[in-house]
């Protein structure tokens, strides 16, 4: 499920990007970036682009500005699944730069190979310290390299939770014994945000459907939970292993994203002030934001709207994290004067504010103002599945059924399932 919403931010032609990538470091103008060129060639799956990326890998200048270009070129070749790039990428496996090695291993996983020599070479990197063992484990499992099992098993007790999670999941997939996945699920509530996010990926990779309702309660950003539930639903339903009814409540609980539905792992030493709670909405660990949201709803429901409006106008209008939480809070606080801001957020097409759109739709449902119905129906014309699904939930809350009729034959099975279901 590739997300292309950011792919075209550089507006370079293929020829321009290739020329830029080929420019020697000492010939670059101050406003030129080969790194941007290497990123941008993702848009051009052509022989010319691939050859240019391979030439960039062959440039061994050790300066930082060149090292980052090489790494990006490796990654782009991986994203393009360019088999021609494999020999060049393979040469990166023996390098000392851990990030170049990481990208090379990942890219080989994307391109795919059954060459036992390459696979063995990747497995041996597990013995090297300072490498991203998690990515190596993921790649070895993805390429089904069973001879690496014993090596991978040694990482199941790693002090790095993300590595341990990947190793446990890998052993389960290789052996077919999924009992140890309970340990992976425990990481969903680990103090480390990285551990929580990482284990979600491992639960996806193992198609571990029993985790779906627990993932829905994990205190990380909705983006990670929603992605996991959607990918697990896609795989499980396609294979006939689960049904829509098995995931519907977890999915809708996640879209609503109420803090009381999450298992929050943080707590306050002292009763917090409203001012402190508002600042917490800007945190990058969403677990902290959810605790603040819950505390605002519990203790400051009357004072909060004015404070939220003030912080919105001062900062949150341009902070996509706080913006999201404020949209949700306007809905739960039933803050009718927030209607116009919610409509603005519903129609905001900037990619970094995408999750605020579905939040705004649901908040409009909470407000109960039926003026929102035609606006929500109009916003059904989108390719963003979670926005469309959230709109259907909001319309149901507002007593509208026209959205169900409009989406009854939607291209996306999950939208059709919601439109057809009982609510």
């Amino acid at each position: 499920m590739t997300n292309k919403r950011f792919f075209n931010i550089f507006n370079l032609t293929e020829a321009e990007a290739i020329e830029l990538l080929d420019t020697p470091l000492d010939k670059l103008a101050e406003d030129e970036s080969r790194y941007v060129a290497a990123s941008h060639l993702i848009n051009f799956p052509t022989t010319a682009a691939i050859d240019a990326l391979i030439r960039a890998i062959d440039n061994n200048n050790p300066e930082l500005d060149n090292r980052i270009v090489r790494r990006k070129s490796v990654e782009t070749l991986g994203k393009l699944q360019a088999k021609q790039g494999l020999p060049a990428i393979r040469t990166c496996l023996s390098e000392s730069d851990c990030y170049t090695v990481e990208n090379a291993v990942w890219a080989i996983g994307e391109i795919g190979t059954e060459d036992p020599e390459i696979l063995s070479e990747i497995a041996q990197i597990l013995d090297r310290e300072g490498q991203n063992h998690r990515v190596i484990i993921h790649t070895l499992v993805k390429l089904n390299y069973l001879p690496a099992l014993d090596r991978i098993r040694t990482f199941t007790e790693s002090s790095d939770e993300a590595t341990a999670s990947a190793a446990i999941a890998a052993v389960c997939r290789f052996t077919g014994d999924y009992t140890p996945m309970a340990r992976v699920m425990e990481f969903l509530f680990h103090p480390s945000r990285n551990a929580r996010r990482a284990c979600i990926q491992d639960l996806i990779d193992t198609n571990y459907y029993p985790a779906i309702s627990t993932i829905a309660r994990c205190p990380v950003s909705i983006v990670f939970r929603l992605r996991a539930i959607r990918l697990l639903a896609n795989n499980g339903i396609e294979r006939g292993e689960i049904e829509f009814a098995d995931i519907q409540s977890s999915l809708e609980q996640t879209l609503l994203d109420r803090p009381q539905d999450l298992e929050l792992i943080h707590e306050y030493d002292l009763p917090p002030t409203l001012e402190f709670l508002i600042r917490q909405l800007y945190e990058t660990d969403f677990g902290l934001c959810y605790l603040a949201t819950q505390t605002i709803l519990d203790n400051f429901a009357e004072l909060a709207p004015a404070a939220l409006l003030a912080t919105y106008e001062a900062e949150a209008y341009n902070d996509y994290g706080a913006h999201y939480h404020i949209m949700k809070l306007f809905g739960w606080l039933k803050y009718a004067p927030g209607y116009d801001l919610l409509v603005e957020a519903l129609n905001n097409r900037e990619p970094q504010f995408q999750k605020s759109r579905a939040a705004a739709a649901l908040a409009l449902g909470e407000l109960g103002d039926k003026r929102a119905i035609p606006l929500l129906v109009a916003s059904l014309d989108t390719k963003i599945w979670d926005l469309k699904y959230a709109i259907l939930m909001a319309l149901a809350k507002l007593g509208d059924t026209s959205g169900r009729e409009i989406t009854a034959n939607d291209d996306d099975w999950i939208i059709r399932a919601r439109a057809a279901g009982e609510h």
Binding site: I9, S33, R67, R134, A198, Q201, V223, N318, Y320, Q352
Partner: protein, 164 residues
């Protein structure tokens, strides 16, 4: 929080030994650079809004195509929105200056970050370009002393390296 001191003590304790001469030298080196780091931390904190905004604005100006209609930075107002991420990295760089190690960046900024960027197809280039600008923008003695600038630039390089 990992720092030179905690790393040295953790390694010594794991081996049940006292810190070695080279351990002590590395701690001593870190302490000797502490004044420069504190100066850089103080100057960065005092100018965080300007430094972040200038870096991002320069990136936008340099790459006018970031302003394409309907894309990530459609208007003057909207482009400010990615400041959130630049400020976040600058805050972690500030913590690293105080700690005297890369622990805050490693633990809160980098760990898992590369995987998330790949999994969600998020672009790293705007951030890398903004941080590269910040590195070339810093000037001694105008902004801070030469020693402080060395410490600050080393962490900018570290962030660029690990993000890219």
């Amino acid at each position: 929080m990992k720092s030179v001191v905690t790393t040295v003590i953790a390694a010594a304790d794991a081996a049940g030994r006292f810190p070695s001469t080279s351990d002590l030298e590395s701690v001593q080196g870190s302490i000797q650079r502490a004044a420069a780091r504190m100066e850089a931390a103080e100057k960065l904190a005092a100018n965080i809004d300007n430094v972040s905004k200038e870096a991002y604005d320069a990136c936008i100006k340099k790459y006018g195509y970031l302003n394409n209609s309907g894309e990530a930075n459609e208007t003057q107002v909207k482009k400010d929105k990615c400041l959130r991420d630049i400020k976040h990295y600058m805050r972690l760089i500030n913590y690293c200056l105080v700690v005297g190690g890369t622990g805050p960046l490693d633990e809160w900024g980098i760990a898992g970050g590369r995987e998330v960027y790949r999994a969600l197809d998020l672009p790293t280039a705007p951030y890398v370009e903004a941080l590269r600008f910040a590195r070339t923008r810093g000037c001694a003695p105008r902004d801070m002393s030469a020693q402080a600038l060395v410490e600050y630039n080393a962490l900018l390089d570290y962030t660029i390296n690990s993000l890219s």
